[in-house]
Symmetry: C2
Subunit: 388 residues, 2 copies
């Protein structure tokens, strides 16, 4: 009995930082996914049976005997898969003790939090049933591309696929999408996982990862929109680590010092986000050609980048990416918190592959990591393994 679930990462197309001050932001899914495959053994179950977590990309494996989990987490004995519940501080403490029994390098604190979320989601949805979960991902970790949300979504979906809360056609061949209410359930569970990973997540990352497409968000409200144009971006990971909290605080301090100027800046970002979402939603044949739409998006990206510079969240590494792509007449903007992290470069549909190769070679020679992604595609998908 096995299932694979895959869920995409996300980028912020416009409005990062300004969204904290009430502006509209637009996020979109990317076709880079985290995949969880979950396999339940056919053998009979005993307290020595294991719940295994394999993180393929890091060549790491963790496992817990079912008996140990029963002892440490008695309160999670009866799976409540239909009612996503926050992890209580006591449970979190017990799970932390379990995770602490494994030797996780301190430098990988995000990893430990990921394992915590795994154990909480696992036991909450599936109880103590032994199984092996294998995680692989196209997404760089901690780069602002929503890798943790993609993990929580794909994991929740794989776990829910075999729960009473979801009814699926197990005979279906190939990738399949959940129904609306199942997606809602996955999204809520993933959000609980994200809370363990991030404290106070906005819910944006897991929502984009679950539903795909594009999402407009403003003052905590998320609106799902349908992307109606193909859009391809080069995502350059500067690999410069950034302190998101410090960057957000820096913008707030600047806003405190220059309230009028910054209010106007946020208002400009709000307009840009609204324009951008209109363009992405409009049907191609309606009015503008793909090339015209791309030109408009590029202009909005350039404007948004200027406004982010005005907020003080750019970084020398980001500027290097901007300068490099500009040489090829390509437009870029930072995505996410800034101060390093990732930069988006729009790749027009008619751009030659040779140019793309050249840009990537030049960026990689600066020590950056380059990924190409389609924007605004599918969200969560699952697939039953026919052989099992």
């Amino acid at each position: 009995m096995a299932v694979r679930a895959r869920a995409p990462g996300k980028i912020i197309l416009s409005g990062e930082h300004a969204v904290v001050h009430g502006s509209t932001a637009v996020a979109a899914s990317i076709d880079l996914c985290t995949q969880v495959s979950l396999r339940f053994p056919i053998d009979s179950e005993s307290d020595d049976s294991l719940i295994k977590l394999q993180l393929k990309d890091m060549a790491l494996e963790f496992s817990w005997p079912v008996g140990r989990l029963k002892k440490m987490l008695p309160e999670l004995g009866i799976p409540q898969s239909s009612t996503p519940t926050p992890c209580s501080p006591e449970t979190l403490k017990s799970i932390a003790a379990l995770v602490g029994e494994h030797n996780i390098p301190e430098a990988k604190s995000g990893l430990a939090a990921g394992v915590l979320a795994f154990l909480y989601l696992y036991t909450s949805i599936q109880g103590y049933k032994p199984a092996t979960a294998v995680v692989t991902s196209d997404l760089p970790l901690g780069a602002g591309l929503g890798s943790s949300a993609a993990l929580c979504v794909s994991l929740s979906a794989a776990l829910l696929a075999f729960s009473d809360s979801v009814s699926l056609d197990f005979s279906h061949q190939g990738w399949l999408t959940f129904g609306e209410s199942e997606l809602e359930l996955v999204n809520k569970w993933a959000f609980e996982g994200e809370k363990i990973l991030h404290g106070k997540p906005s819910g944006l990352d897991n929502t984009v990862s679950t539903f795909g497409n594009i999402i407009m968000f403003k003052s905590g409200n998320l609106t799902l929109l349908k992307s109606r144009m193909p859009l391809r971006m080069l995502i350059t990971n500067t690999k410069v680590g950034r302190n998101t909290k410090a960057l957000v605080a820096g913008v707030s301090e600047r806003t405190f010092r220059h309230p009028d100027a910054m209010a106007a800046v946020f208002s400009a970002v709000d307009s840009i986000s609204k324009e951008l979402s209109t363009i992405i939603q409009s049907h191609a044949p309606d009015d503008l050609s793909i090339t015209e739409k791309e030109k408009k998006l590029e202009e909005l990206m350039e404007m948004n980048q200027g406004l982010l510079q005005c907020m003080g969240v750019t970084h020398a590494s980001i500027e290097t990416v901007l300068q490099t792509t500009l040489k090829y007449k390509l437009t870029s903007k930072l995505t996410g918190a800034g101060g390093g992290g990732c930069v988006l470069t729009l790749l027009p549909a008619l751009l030659s592959g040779t140019v793309v190769d050249e840009v990537i070679a030049e960026l990689e020679s600066c020590g950056f990591q380059c990924l190409i992604a389609e924007i605004g595609g599918k969200g969560l998908q699952i697939c039953f393994d026919a052989s099992s």
Copy 2:
């Protein structure tokens, strides 16, 4: 009988481009000047006597026999130094014919216009009196630093110094300043010269050059303000020629495409200009230390630069200057039209000379020209030559 007049160039501290759309801008004089020395010969005057113009920096000399001017420009026979008058199209045509008799390379079209302005101001204020005018300048030409206005101001002042419209103490030793009404008169004549050079100048450049200090301008209104803090800037001339009209048109087109976003951007610039002028005008001991003021100015410069990027008027050469100075933790913004031209870098009072030397060396190795200037100093000054 000889006089020297010197008049400073200018920089735009904030608000370029946005000022066209109703925002406040702030300009300031720099202690880089154009100097005109004017000497009337003691010999008796004949139609063969010459009016000579020496452009020392370019090693060029032009001269016209007084008789030739009388013939070509009979309408300017009686000097009207007290009433600045626009050059009529007919007069301009006659002067152009006179200038055309000299061989001025086509590439130096700005030079030809400068010679036109010289002849118009000269004959309008001094008639056909033979003399030699020698021009030298610290200012690069056509780099947006107000070199042509500095020429028109210093020339008008030198010519007016020996006219009936101005009464001065010829026995004064050293540099001396005109009175308020004389400055107004100089400024008006210089504006007529600027019209010959630029068609429809805003009057900003000649006003800053005449009065010095800082000037706030909004919707065509100029307000003279008193700078009360020492402020030193590195001015980097990228030497990239730019098309000011095309850049201004580009911003207008972007405003047409994105009216809401751009209105907010212009409003942000307006706030920045107002804050900036408040800081420069405030007495140092009042509230903030010089270092604190510099920090605030740097932040406002960074913000303004971001907004200029948002308007689409930056350029790869400008970004190179920004990146280079950022390495030394210095803040820069473009000044003037953008698209090349000059970039300002604030040099804090406590910055070591070694760092300044290093930055300049690195910028010059990119092929840029570096100048250091004090901001907001004196305007027009004149000096009578004691030996004559």
